[in-house]
Amino acid sequence: MKILVPVKRVPDPATTIRVLADGSGIATDNVKWVINPFDEIAIEEALRIKEKQGAGEVILISIGQQTWQEQLRTGLAMGADRAILIRSETPLDTLAIARAIAKVATDEKPGIVMIGKQAIDDDSNQVGQMIAEMLGWPQATFASKVEIAGEKCTVVREADGGLETIAFPLPAVITTDLRLNEPRYASLPGIMKARKKPLAEIAVDSLGVDLAPKLKIKALNAPAKRQAGRKVASVDELVEVLHTEAKVI
């Protein structure tokens, strides 16, 4: 089975994010760029399915600039078979990204689009669900367990108040949550091999899908900073101030 894994380039989760004074974006000096951690989980899951089935192909796809090749190479070093970089010099909104990926999925005909539940930069949590609708496929969001038997897939989802199990035929879109697996590191031989794996580039305009932005970011501001309070010396003092000063207990 072919599995298509969309990959986003994001600031390392340990980065301290600073909004530029003019509100045009975030400061990117000193930012280390990585694969969105949820997409790493998606790559890992795709690789495990391929390994278990003993056949198949894991294809990575990104929509971004040339620099995004770095993250695709990292994914190839983890074990993915090939990658597609859809070149777009400007950022696109979630609908346009989903349309572009859905178009590639229509051409590549994967059994699964495996994608992170959210990107840790814009925190939108939209693209997987949008791709599913555009393709008319089932969706299993926030997956913590994926089981495939023939053409049928069963997924345990992290819902509010418990775990939901749903079943559906493939092809489908699965969005990955934190507890699904622990992604492997790229090995040294993996990194060597990745250099020779195919990485195709396509211009986003050549896909023939509507890219006009409908979501516009008008301004970006830094949030008000919370002031640190004070240290208390003992449990008794803590309970006392919570009772008499903060009046919360």
Binding site: T16, L95, P138, Q139, D160, D177, V248
Partner: protein, 323 residues
């Protein structure tokens, strides 16, 4: 007129606070767009729930009827809601960013070819919205273009709506579904039962982190404090990943966002991803043995101590002020 359709999520007929928050946000959008605010409801127990939500200031409640909507599966729900948006001519579809809202709304947006803003925290007069990005380290002003738009609201950013004297009319509508395209099937729901207040509704939240070291210690050390304070229990990702507590207790950027009157972080270092889920709490307390832990930078009251000593002491001290 910019009518708003609020997705009234319920659990077998009962409304969580997050739904009352959505109604309040829906009323605010409707006011600013000179439109009406309607509620839409589906699933098992929808009829009773409709009578309930009708008392909260909406101008109409629509019950979408079809047995295939019972479990809120995304393919069916998106179809039914999309046809309803078209037939009502509503401008804005709004839900709370719960697990269900996050699952359904983007699919609906794609079906409507409408842009979507996730987890908004403010509604501006000019029709734009404010939403956090980068784990809350940036606040973006968002404009959504087109005749229809979809938004989810952050449950902590708006108050719950208050009940009114009158009740809105209830209309039942047969859902429009194309059976051939429905492929998702509900298998089971493994509910995590708890007698404690819900994490997203509690006045006090006590959360534990990796510092607790085991699920057993959550039970014997942390839970007595949680219960003595009448609190909900939360956790860091590290505690959930280690299997100390169930996943739906995770507070943070990629878990639940809470803003109680009092948040007590025990054995939690305070990574940005955790802060993103609790830094709007009114009063924050941190108990950590490392005085350099970043959690202290947002805490109103910090106690540098070994939690295994401090937490049992706190249980005793709580008992004293109560009696």
């Amino acid at each position: 007129m910019g009518d708003v359709l609020v997705f009234a999520e319920h659990q077998g007929g009962h409304f969580p606070k997050t739904t009352l928050v959505a109604v309040n946000a829906g009323l605010e959008v409707a006011r600013k767009r000179s439109g009406n605010c309607l509620a839409v409801i589906m699933g098992e127990g929808a009829e009773n729930a409709a009578a309930e939500i009708a008392k909260f200031g909406v101008s109409k409640v629509i019950v979408l009827e079809d047995p295939r909507l019972e479990h809120h599966l995304a393919d069916a729900a998106a179809q039914a809601l999309a046809s309803l948006i078209k037939s009502t001519g509503a401008e804005t579809m709004l839900a709370t960013a719960t697990a269900m809202g996050k699952d359904l709304m983007p699919r609906l947006a794609a079906r409507l070819n409408a842009p979507m803003a996730s987890e908004i925290i403010a509604i501006n007069d000019d029709g734009t919205f404010v939403r956090p990005m980068y784990a809350g380290n940036a606040l973006a002003t968002i404009e959504l273009d087109g005749p229809v738009r979809v938004v989810t609201v952050r449950g902590t950013a708006f108050d719950a709506v208050k009940p009114t004297e009158t009740a809105a009319p209830i209309e039942k509508v047969k859902a429009e579904l194309d059976p051939a395209s429905l492929k998702m099937e509900f298998v089971s729901f493994n509910e995590i039962k708890s007698d404690r207040p819900q994490l997203t509704e509690a006045r006090i939240v006590v959360s534990g982190g990796r510092g607790l070291k085991s699920g057993e210690n959550f039970k014997t050390v942390l839970e007595p404090l949680v219960d003595e304070m009448g609190a909900a229990m939360g956790a860091s990702r590290a505690a959930v990943d280690a299997g100390f507590v169930p996943n739906d207790l995770q507070v943070g950027q990629t878990g639940k966002v809470v803003a109680p009157e009092l948040y007590v972080a025990v054995g939690i270092s305070g990574a940005i991803q955790h802060l993103a889920g609790m830094k709007d709490s009114k009063t924050i307390v941190a108990i950590n043995k490392d005085e350099e832990a970043p959690i202290f930078s947002v805490a109103d009251y910090g106690l540098v101590a070994d939690l295994f000593k401090a937490v049992p002491e706190m249980v005793e001290a709580m008992k004293k002020i109560k009696h």
